[in-house]
């Protein structure tokens, strides 16, 4: 039994933002250590865990509550956030750098930019979810 007010989309978006935050931390650490000899970079993965906790797609008549109006708060299935885990792995591959480090600063910058765009998109979508719920509660947009 999960949260009745916020459906599984809100839960997934919150977990996605957690994952993006952890990824940013790992990338920042990799960038700070770009000149450290024999350094091993770390990777964070969370999207597979996110996909795993997502259930089947909701069909039109799949709501447990009969809504007599679209203004009823849509409950697309409660989301249990306990199943989501962020995995951090140490990348042990060797790179052809003389000082033995396997950080490639250009790849890290590209990952940083991608992750930052992802985090902001998730933030905007989450804000939109909250706005919709608030509109249904307050009965105006």
């Amino acid at each position: 039994m999960g949260d009745f007010l916020f459906g599984r989309t809100v839960g997934m978006l919150k977990d996605a933002m957690d994952g993006a935050g952890a990824t940013h931390g790992a990338i920042a650490n990799n960038i700070a250590n770009v000149n450290t000899p024999n350094f091993r970079r770390t990777d964070v993965s969370f999207k597979d865990a996110l996909a795993a906790v997502d259930g089947p797609p909701a069909s039109g008549d799949d709501l447990p509550l009969v809504t007599t109006s679209a203004l009823d708060i849509p409950l697309a299935g409660a989301y249990d956030p306990a199943d989501f885990k962020i995995t951090t792995t140490v990348d042990q591959t060797q790179q052809m750098r003389l000082d033995g480090s396997n950080v490639d600063v250009d790849q890290e910058m590209a990952k940083l930019s991608l992750n930052s765009g992802y985090a902001q998109t998730m933030g905007q979508l989450l804000q939109n979810q909250y706005t919709r719920i608030r509109a249904a509660i307050e009965e105006h947009f």
Partner: protein, 148 residues
Amino acid sequence: MGFYTSIEVSASGLSAERLAMDTIANNIANVNTTRTAEGGPFKRQLVVYAQKNAPTASADGAGDGGGDAASGAGVQVVGIVNDQTPDRLVYDPGHPDADANGYVHMPNVDVVKEMVDMMAASRAYEANVTAIQESRSIDGSTLGLLKA
């Protein structure tokens, strides 16, 4: 992420790279210094980087990255050491610091190598600055959730 925010991690990178650039600038300035306080010519200096681990990590020593993967807290400079490669010998018998055979011991600083190191440190510095900017924009968009 442990105790350290990602801005602190990136800031540690900034100070380490700034120290590296200062060291390199010193090396280039002293490329012709044949007399130092310790006697002998100037010796090229290197910066030794090591990864800083967060306090909650297993105390695994610095630089090998084998500790707890999730607790990287940035980088720190653990020392500035002298480069032990031999001095450059230049044949100049008229020089006041020439030795018995007429060779002058010049610093083991190679300006070209120093410039390359300077570019690497500068690029790493800029990468850390970009990481801080991205961190702030993520925080900003998170705060935007509170707006209506």
